[in-house]
Each structure stands twice: as structure tokens, then as C-alpha cells.
């Protein structure tokens, strides 16, 4: 069933659009005057000047892996982020933690963990799905490189970006 939208009846002022034109010019002129009076800045000199300090708390930048206060790598390579990742940017190869390791009871860790930043769409699904609080989206947004290989963040790079994060749930503590 089609919906019939009635065409509005315009007044004479609306039909000749001149008042609307003047309204627009007034706004533009107001801005121009304020800039000339140095009351307002509209251009930021990026990259010399950055907006980073004003980024909101929920800003989603590059994903990174974190270690906790015990220096344990939190990722256990369950591969849920690899599964959920919409652009398939994540590739994980799991391995068993060898006997004798301090965290042997965790049993599993990533042998390699690659995120292809050319594919990543910064959606944050990996952070949301992670059952171990191991992957977080940081505020880094200027990810650049001169080759495709450089744009693939490997495990070492991911821990470098992610750093240490404290106060997370300590699921694999020694008492458990």
C-alpha cells in the first residue's frame, strides 16, 4: 500500500527563497567576524597539533594485547576474536605452555598472534568477545607503514602497544 505524501503549500517568502538565503549569509558572516576577532579557531594543525587528549573514553583505536600485574600474557588463544572478527583481520596459532613455565597451569597461549591493520575496521568486537580480558582497543589511530608486511601487527608489537593493565580479573591465580 503506497503512502501518499502531501506536498506542503509554501508561503510566498518560502517560494522566492530570498529570506532563507539571507539567513544563511548571516550565519556565515557571524563566523567570519568571530574568526577575525580571534574569538574562534576552526582549523587544527594536524599532525603537529593533536586532538588526542580530548578523545572520549570509549574511543576505539588499534587493538592490542595486554599483560597483567604478574607479567602474564593474558591471551590463552581461544581464538574467539579470530572467529568474531568481521573483516578476518586476526590470525592466531596456539601452542601449549611448556612444562616448567611459571604459568604452566594455564596450558595454552598464542604462538603467534597477527592482526592485519589493513583489514581491521576498529569495530571492537574482539575486545567484547574476549573471555580473558586480553585484547583491548587502544586510542592509537594513526597506524601507518610503508609495506603491507609492516601493517601486520605481530604478537610482540601487540604487547608493545598494549602494555600492562592492572586490576583485571585474576582468573588463573595460584589459589584457584
Amino acid at each position: 500500500m503506497p503512502i501518499v505524501v502531501k506536498r506542503p503549500r509554501l508561503t510566498l517568502a518560502e517560494k522566492c527563497y530570498f529570506p532563507a538565503l539571507m539567513k544563511g549569509l548571516r550565519i556565515t558572516l557571524g563566523h567570519a567576524i568571530r574568526i577575525l576577532q580571534r574569538k574562534k579557531k576552526v582549523t587544527m594543525q594536524y599532525p603537529e597539533v593533536k586532538w588526542d587528549d580530548n578523545l572520549p573514553e570509549h574511543y576505539r583505536g588499534a587493538p592490542a594485547l595486554v599483560t597483567d600485574e604478574h607479567d602474564r600474557e593474558r591471551c590463552v588463544s581461544c581464538q574467539l576474536c579470530e572467529f568474531i572478527c568481521p573483516p578476518r583481520a586476526i590470525k592466531i596459532v596456539p601452542e601449549e605452555i611448556p612444562p616448567g613455565d611459571e604459568w604452566q597451569k594455564v596450558e595454552k597461549r598464542p604462538e603467534s598472534f597477527d592482526i592485519d591493520m589493513l583489514r581491521c575496521i576498529y569495530c571492537g568486537m574482539c575486545q567484547e568477545v574476549c573471555p580473558e580480558q586480553a585484547i583491548f582497543l587502544r586510542k592509537d589511530y594513526a597506524i601507518t607503514g610503508v609495506s603491507r608486511e609492516e601493517m601486520i601487527h605481530d604478537k610482540q608489537k601487540l604487547y608493545e602497544i598494549g602494555g600492562k593493565r592492572e586490576g583485571l580479573i585474576n582468573k588463573w591465580n595460584k589459589l584457584k
Binding site: 590463552v76 588463544s77 581461544c78 581464538q79 574467539l80 579470530e82 572467529f83 596456539p94 601452542e95 601449549e96 597451569k105 594455564v106 596450558e107 595454552k108 573471555p131 580473558e132 582468573k171 584457584k176
Partner: protein, 571 residues
């Protein structure tokens, strides 16, 4: 007891969730529910094993018609069935059999509360291991927890600690904290493979699965316990931490480790196989398969896999394209006729490949065609002493009375200098009694194989073939059952499925260009080979069809049939 009009000798009327169905007498309640499409959750019950009824997950509400006093008529409902008096207590559906007029409620409040209660008890000591557990994704504890469990745990005390990561056998790792004590593995070891090494020790919430202190779970069927484990307590060392199950694509195929032809499921992802397990077929392998068969897929990961067709020039092999390689092979082989040419095929080839070998042998007029015999040690369960998966196919298609007996003629022919050319299909001649000096005397040797073996080094033309999981085809097992092999992954590099190579050789030799699909090869074979008459490739189905009577039986299946007759298992 009030007997309703509809019952007959061997069928009884049962009401499942309000619907009346008729099932054979002696059917377990859980199976009757399954037939009525009412799934009853369970852990310990397995149709191939006895039912101890220890997990209590399959509790359902049950009722029976009341027994009328003498002279009293049974009260009937509108459909003519006796009224059901529901029992106040639940019963387990796995170990009880149905009776005439019985009522089962799987979705009643009582049944639901029972499941919720059992789930809560199972989960109080269960670790939060799912992110590292290989069973995650195919774990019934996970599934039922979502379906029947509580959202949160009410258990505030500390969990019971049990041994983790226990080495109980060469191929299996045990995690006791994950175990739900269903005893499937214990019963499998005891009842199916007669290797009673597993058992429960300690009591109460410290009850633990353990292996006999002086022994290991190391029989050749041990990995079946991993399959039937409903949780991640038993995991396979081979598959451990390799790949999460939800990534894998499963392909229905066959094991080619021996002549049994166990039906398998191959789990692969992005061109790599991660595991191979049994697929139920009650005419071949029941629900089991041997450990050595499971490891068969590792042969495809050989670092010496051939990826390109090659022609020997002087002392080195040069990579060429397929057209050149096939033409060269056909040209070389056509130069020799009759007794000058012999073909050594393999009992590991599919029927289609064998048929194309036969047509090739006919157009090349090859003097001798034979396959290589490969026997090993079999056992009293599934493993067969004939390690070739398709010798019966070779018998029928290549018309061999006793396969392997004509290799002597080939040895003699080469020694006399009569045989000058050899076409070798899927075999390593130096491994089966031929010597380098012997083969050095040949004018031409064409090899179709997947691995760069010593024979490949001596061959004039090397054509890279595919492994068993990289091709389609059909095979006939030891009991004469025709079954289908399916392609799980692509073969590496430029290598091709063997039937394509043979078809290429056929075309190059006789110039005909008719058959294009594997299905067409099978179609052609149905008119040329009598046992395939009236069959089609699609008609073989997932479970296969019996095409010949070899007089052989499967010892494991016979014992299983006896246990079914005795009423011990459902089967």
C-alpha cells in the same frame, strides 16, 4: 492391565509429550523420545554401551495406566487409550524400557527442574576452562548448561581440586576437573576393546577418573574414548590446541589405512586437515575406528610432497607443464607393446582410477598388470591384516585372481630384458622388493605418486598425484561394501587427482575425448564391470552399498550384535 485396541504383538503405544506413538517392545524410553523428536539430554547414555544410569541428566516424568480392580473397566480417553496416572517421582529415560500405555513427559515442570538441578550439581566443581578446552564448541556440558542450566552459580565455597593435565596414555591427556563422571570411557574400554584400564577412585565430590597404576590407556582404540567423552576431560594429544572445532569443515570420507574402510569425518580448515574421526556406519565400523587410522592424514603432510609434473633430462628432473608431461609419458609408453610394457597399480587406488588404468592397459596393450600386496597385523576388532584399502576393487576391475602374484613375472621380465617400460601408480618400487640395478635397466618408467620417493628419482616422467583426502572416488572394503571417498582439501601445488592424470594419459594414448567428470567414469564402469551394474556414484550414498560377498565378517560388529540381542545395549 488395560490393553488398548491398537497394540499388537511387538509394538506398544507410548505417549510422548502428549502425542501417541508406536514403538517396538523393549525400546528404551530415551530412544522412544528420540523417535517422537523429543530430545532428552544425557551424558552417560550411549547407544553402543551399557546404560549404568549414573548421570541422572535424562530424568523425565513417567506415568502408567492404573491397574483396574476385578470387574472394573479401564477408563479410556477420546482416542481410546487408557488414562495415565503420572508418578510423583522422575525416572531415568536411558535405562528404562517402554511399556504399553506408558506416558512420558520431557517438558513438564518436574522434568525441567530435575535437569536444572542436575546441571547445577555438575557445574559446581567444573572449572572455567572453556577458553582453553579443546571440547569447547562440541561440549554437551556447554550446550546443556545454556539450555537447561542457571545463568549464575549459587555455589560460594571453593571448588574441589583434582588432577589436571594427566598423562594417561601415549595419545590421550586427562583433565579430572572437567570430568562429569559419566563413565562412558570406562565402559568403552571394558566392553568394546576388552582393555579394562580406566576406573573411578575416591568418593563423594572427590570421585575421580583414573588409569590403572601399572598400566596406560594405550590400546589401538583409545582415541574413541576422546570422541565419546561428552566434555573435555579426555583430549587427544594429536589434536590438542591445534584448532578450535568451530573453524573446521567436516567432510564425510573413508579411512584408507586398511581394507576395513572405516567411515570417517575429516575436519579441515583452509586446506589443512586437523583431525579425522569415525562416522557411524553399523555395517562397517559401528561408531569406532583405530588410532593408527586416525593418524593416516599425517601422510599427506609429508615434506617431500610432489607439486609439479617433472621429466628427467640426463640426471636431473625438470619441472614441465601438465600437457608436456602427459604427452611425453603417453609417447614414451606407446613405444612399447605387449610384453615390453608392465603396469604396477596399487590397492590404494579408487575404483575409478583402477578402471582408467584398465582402459589404459587395454589401449597400450600392456603385457602384465598387477597391484602390490601389502599385509600387516590386523586385530580382532576393526583393523584388517590387508593394509590396502581397495584390493577387492582391483580384483574385480583389473580381473586379478590373486593380486600381487604377477609381480614375479615383472621381476623376471625385467631381469630377462623383456620388459622395457613400466607404468607405476601410487607405489614405491624400491620399498616393495625392486632394486635400483633392476630398475636402471628400464628404458622408460612413468610414476604417478604423491611423494618424491626413491622410485620418483629413477622415473623418466613423474606425475604428482593426490592423497586420499584430496580426491573423490569409490572403494570396496574387505566385506565387499562399495563406499565413497570425498575430497576434504586441495592437493598441493599443481598436483592433480589421480583419475584426472590417468584420464589425461588415456586421452593422449587413444585420442578419444569423451569422459570429463569422475561421475562419468563411474557411469562407464557400471556397464563394463558386472558388480557395479545398476549403480550410480550418487546412489552409493554416505553409508555405501554391498556389492560383493567376500564371506568375511567384522568381529567387532558380531560382538556388538550379540550384546544387542542380549538387551545389554541399544546398538
Amino acid at each position: 492391565m488395560a490393553v488398548s485396541k491398537k497394540s499388537s504383538e511387538d509394538l506398544v503405544n507410548v505417549q510422548v509429550d502428549g502425542h501417541w506413538i508406536r514403538v517396538p517392545k523393549g525400546t528404551r524410553m530415551i530412544e522412544a523420545c528420540k523417535q517422537a523428536a523429543a530430545e532428552v539430554p544425557h551424558y552417560c547414555y550411549h547407544p553402543k554401551l551399557t546404560s549404568p544410569g549414573n548421570c541422572r541428566m535424562c530424568l523425565v516424568e513417567m506415568g502408567m495406566p492404573p491397574r483396574p480392580t476385578p470387574g472394573e473397566e479401564a477408563e479410556l480417553d477420546a482416542e481410546g487409550h487408557a488414562k495415565i496416572n503420572w508418578m510423583p517421582r522422575p525416572v531415568i529415560a536411558c535405562a528404562n524400557t517402554v511399556a504399553e500405555g506408558m506416558g512420558i513427559r520431557t517438558q513438564s515442570l518436574l522434568a525441567k527442574e530435575c535437569r536444572q538441578g542436575v546441571m547445577e550439581f555438575l557445574l559446581i566443581n567444573h572449572p572455567l576452562d572453556c577458553p582453553i578446552c579443546d571440547q569447547a564448541g562440541e561440549c554437551t556440558l556447554q550446550e546443556y548448561s545454556v539450555e537447561h542450566g542457571n545463568g549464575q552459580s549459587r555455589f560460594l565455597e571453593s571448588k574441589v581440586k583434582k588432577p589436571k593435565n594427566v598423562d594417561i596414555g601415549p595419545r590421550i591427556r586427562l583433565d579430572d576437573e572437567r570430568c562429569v563422571l559419566c563413565s562412558r570411557c570406562v565402559r568403552f574400554s571394558k566392553e568394546v576393546v576388552d582393555d579394562d584400564v580406566l576406573g573411578f577412585v575416591d568418593r563423594g565430590s572427590h570421585n575421580t577418573l583414573a588409569v590403572h597404576p601399572d598400566r596406560k590407556l594405550e590400546n589401538n582404540y583409545s582415541l574413541n574414548t576422546v570422541d565419546i567423552c561428552p566434555v573435555g576431560a579426555l583430549t587427544s594429544n594429536d589434536f590438542r590446541f591445534k584448532m578450535r572445532v568451530w573453524f573446521m569443515r567436516e567432510t564425510k570420507s573413508l579411512c584408507t589405512g586398511c581394507a576395513r574402510g572405516c567411515n570417517t569425518l575429516i575436519g579441515s580448515r583452509e586446506g589443512k586437515i586437523y583431525r579425522q574421526g569415525p562416522r557411524e556406519n553399523n555395517k562397517v565400523n559401528s561408531a569406532w575406528m583405530c588410532d593408527s587410522g586416525r593418524m593416516e592424514y599425517h601422510r599427506l603432510e609429508d615434506p617431500a610432497r610432489l607439486t609439479d609434473p617433472m621429466i628427467k633430462r640426463g640426471r636431473t628432473h625438470n619441472v614441465v607443464d601438465w600437457t608436456e608431461a602427459i604427452c611425453r609419458a603417453a609417447k614414451d609408453l606407446s613405444r612399447f607393446k605387449g610384453d615390453e610394457l608392465a603396469i604396477i597399480a596399487s590397492g590404494g587406488m579408487t575404483n575409478e582410477e583402477l578402471y582408467l588404468t584398465r582402459t589404459l592397459a587395454e589401449s597400450l596393450e600392456a603385457g602384465v598388470v598387477d597391484v602390490v600386496k601389502r599385509s600387516g597385523s590386523g586385530d580382532d576388532y576393526l583393523s584388517h591384516s590387508d593394509k590396502n584399502p581397495n584390493v577387492n576393487g582391483a580384483r574385480k576391475i583389473l580381473k586379478l585372481r590373486s593380486p600381487g602374484s604377477r609381480l614375479k613375472l615383472i621381476h623376471a621380465g625385467i631381469a630377462e630384458g623383456k620388459i622395457k617400460a613400466l607404468l607405476v601408480l601410487g607405489e614405491d618400487l624400491l620399498d616393495i622388493g625392486f632394486s635400483e640395478e633392476e630398475l636402471g635397466g628400464l628404458k622408460c618408467m612413468v610414476l604417478v605418486h604423491m611423494i618424491a620417493n626413491p622410485t620418483a628419482k629413477m622415473s623418466t616422467v613423474v606425475l604428482p598425484g593426490a592423497g586420499y583426502a584430496e580426491k573423490r572416488g569409490s572403494m570396496i572394503n574387505a566385506t565387499g561394501r562399495l563406499q565413497r571417498l570425498n575430497k576434504a582439501i586441495d592437493s598441493p601445488g599443481l598436483s592433480r587427482e589421480d583419475w584426472e592424470i590417468l584420464q589425461g594419459l588415456n586421452r593422449a594414448v587413444d585420442g578419444k575425448d569423451e569422459v570429463t567428470e569422475l561421475v562419468d567414469v563411474f557411469g562407464e564402469m557400471t556397464s563394463a564391470v558386472s558388480i557395479f551394474k545398476g549403480l550410480s556414484f550418487a546412489g552409493i550414498g554416505d553409508l555405501g552399498v554391498d556389492v560383493m560377498d567376500t564371506g568375511e565378517s567384522v568381529p567387532l560388529l558380531e560382538r556388538e550384535a550379540k550384546r544387542v540381542r542380549d538387551g545389554l545395549i541399544v546398538g
